[in-house]
Amino acid sequence: MTRMGRGIDRIEARIKVTGEALYTADVPVENVAYGVLVGSTVASGRIRRINTREVERMPGVLRVFTHMNTRYPGEVTPETVGELRLSFSDDRVHYVGQVIALVAADSLERAEEAASLVRAEYEEAAAVTTFEMGLPSVFTPTVDEGYVEAEPDTSRGNFEAAYADAPVRFEARYGTQKYHQTPIETYATTALWEDNRLILFESTQYVVGAQTGMASVLNMNPDNIHVVSNFTGGGFGAKGHLWPHTIRTAMAARELGRPLKVQLTRPQMQTGSAYQARTQQTIQLGATEAGDIRAVSHTNISQSGLDDRVEPATDLTRVLYDFPNLITRERLVRTNHNTGGAMRPPGDGPGLFALESALDELAHQLNMDPIELRRRNHADRDPDQDKPFSGKALLECYERGAERFGWAQRDPVPRSMRDGHELVGYGMASASRLQQAMECQAAVTLHADGSAVVATGVAEIGGGSYTTLAQVAAEDLTLPYNRVAFRGGDSTLPAASGSFGSMVSASTGSAVKLAAMDARAQAARLAVADSGSPLFGVAIEDVVAQDGRLVRRDNPNRGESYASILTRAGRETLRGHGRFVPNEESPFSSYAFGAQFAEVRVDELLGIVRVSRFVGAFAAGRILNEKTATSQAKGGIIYAIGTALMEGVHHDHTSGRLINANLFDYHVPVNADIPSSKLDVIFIDDGDTAVNLLGAKGIGEIVSIGVPAAIANAVFHATGKRVRELPLTPDKLL
């Protein structure tokens, strides 16, 4: 009997529906003071003066923190801190909304009131407020200590020659917006000090990252930093790093000698955490009449903010298809914005919007079925690494997805399908995502009452990690799921991976598996050495777990429960430890794959696009919990409907101010934007046993990746109009 793969309800569902689940801002802290952030109103320049004295005289105000009273004792590390030049470092202002003051008061109202009266005088300087403004100074980034991690240019074969020779050529430019993750919980931080120990309640996707990042900037021993994040109200990349306000809050709490709590307002979210950078991409394709793509070039210009950072849109172009002659280039445009970061799905999302749109355009030009074109150019091995894939079932994704969707009913001629006054279109796109992994640890403790506790400091951001990881242990121990408890979200627990990069199940899941195996092995060793045990004297390798007991492989009737082994040994608990180290030298290349299909309806008179049906077929290893995975997949598809149809951060061209930093104007999908229950997710087993111990791949990101292109392709099919710049707002279709 397997305990995996089934639809098991979330461990924490109950406390989430009752409001008992404590998010960062909910944690009661005695004598807490409240901090409110003040952002700069100019996009570039220097702060001449801030009226801190005046504000500090207001009732209830404890102190105003600015660059004048800030000195960071340690160093900033790019793996954990979202912006390398921390605000408050000096008097320079680099973007609108950069935090220039933190006002602490004895109540939230007083802090808000005081913050609203903070006035800064600036010496303004010229600013590059938009992508367009910066475009003339586009440049090639160089690998640095910060966020430019990979060489900007790659190539294989001879693109120029192959393109010149190609009988069919295609070239187009695509654009994606600056997007904000917009989790419903805004960022919150509460810091308190007990002697020289910092306790930090933090909305984060990465408990260990918050701990080590803080340790580095504050020049402290990480052991003296205790990060707690029981539940995080969504991240999508926004909370993957530490942002400057958290660091200053922690320091301020120490200086005040009093706990301090800061929660970003909704408008502050867009500058106080990461975002997905805007991209402009040019794709050239050279193919034969039969659809063999011989030459591809993919150039991406991404918009950078305070720190140079590439939104890596060209990565998948190197891997997804067997393009023999290829050039990819990453370029940057510097603007006066905050530093960008990862947003579900980073890099590949914008990148595949361009590539998969271009393939659709080529298929149309060649008069060929879009799936057929993709099949023809299928990569059996990873052409970039020249390695076999550890598992790839993309062809099956096309097949099963197309079948479920009813792709065969598609009349290939654009504008040929109608339903009343609406034009109907079908579109598809491939999806893929590299399987990332991170070193991490977990503990599984068996208790004498027969229960077990899994502990690892993973942040639960909505993906169902607590549930899935408890299941991993339950399966290994063959215990009923309800006998396994889970502890997470705390840096005093074994260090887990971050909850990003779709890696919790794979990395932390592997660590949990190893910990459970270790606990089981220890229990077995106790039993075989104990003359009172039915397993006494049995060779260790002949002891297996079954139905919550350790039994003889050759005679399952001979065995006993963990409880009796521990009790007889006089042990209250027995703790297994697991440490997962990614295999850097793997002979395989590991990716998840998928195919996504959209049906859209377009009201021709109004230009409004509605996604009326969607099918996603994903080959992402073994699915650990069908229920949470399906729900996460559907959520991810709908998240990307927002990217495709409505979202986008806008700045005023002249001042650089944010125009839609609120939920009234930054539109995310509502219930009415969702195809009524015609959203199907299929998981296909790719039989990948090499990717990791569990055979599991992440699904949090791949589910979103192909969505915008599938929708744009469907819109073209419906209307005959090709929109190459996201989002597909109605004005682009009239």
Binding site: R10, A13, T18, G462, I608, M646, V670, T729
Partner: protein, 456 residues
Amino acid sequence: MAQSLRVWINGSEERISGVAPTTMLLDYLRASGRVGTKEGCAEGDCGACTVAVRGERGVQAVNSCIVPLGAVSNYEIVTAEGLVRNGVLHPVQEALARAGGSQCGYCTPGFVMSLFAAQYSGERGDGVLEGNLCRCTGYLPIREAARSPSAPAADDPYFTSTQPAEAADYSVGDEHFFSPRSLKGALELLSLHPGAKPIAGGTDVGVELNKVGRRNAVLVSLAGVPELRRLTETAAGLELGGALTLSELEARLGGRVPLLETMLRSFAARQIRNRATLAGNLATASPVGDLAPVLLACGARVKLVSLGGERTVALSDFFTGYRTTVQRPGELIASVTVPKPDAPRLEAVYKVGKRGADDISTVAAAFSLELKADKIVTSARLAYGGVAATPVRALEVEQFLIGRPWTERTAAEAAGRLRGLFTPLSDLRGSAEYRRALVGNLFEKFFYEHSAEVAA
């Protein structure tokens, strides 16, 4: 002036004093340790702060982030924490948990309370969820949960107070929240406190208080003024009291003003409609206010009252410019009268927003035509929102239509003229060109959708 305010929170009576009347209910709940209710925006947009209240309008879901404490005196308030009884989840909580309707869970208490309140109103279907945003689930499991039917138990343990929910005044220092119980009382307060602001549902005022700050506010609530809450059918038409909420109108119009009823369904979301009032929507004179175009197309008249007396103006004369009206200080909108049409009219209303629901209009349009038997247009009212500084009628094109046959050609020609009629602005919701195109296209859509009706 009362220095304290009484509420019941999750069944317990509570007297609040020393907390400013403009403190939002959400902030009060959270500051007093009831942190199950979340904040996602503080502007009424996300529904994370949804709680159920029982006040003068029965049990309703509201966005507690924009409801000032002063407005809930003598209310019963129920939050997600309050639903569990003897350790047993409420059926809507159970359904949501079962359906996997909670991922990160931050939106969950808000959804729970929307579903809970819907039990009392009897509302079913997706409309219940429209005012709650979720970034994780994609709504599908939540929809599933919304389908499991449940109704309040006969011995409802949640709303137990037998006291009538009579609004009471509440002051702290210089901040006053008046809850007059008569129109005269309200008008007197306004003349006594020249700086005072009328507040009805507070869906605009509440947002403003959060954004701009709230020192020394004097608010005069119209929510409990009976004269403003009447709905009277007269020979002339239907007179709608200014302080009727949009939810009340939905429930009480009963098919008598189809244009208005259609528009109400796509107006914001349930939590907002439970508070927002008819007069409040007109008084803000927003160029994208949704009720104005509809009421313009209906030929509505507005009754204004002050201590000096009352006067009636045509709605088409009510708006004077960007966010200005003919209202004088101390004057209130008492009611709006929708005249009874002399003959059946061909009518439709359209709201084009950036997403499927819960958005203000990019362009809103309402059309109302009278046709003679031979399909000649004899009267026309075409009204728009989002295309000019005020909601407007397309007077020239109305004139053009009169006397013309209602044919595809007439419609196309009218649409062409409409496209050139206004000079809208570009903003995030749409470019000026897009809006101009919509002005005409919506009229064409009107023709296509209703040509069959005429033929019949």
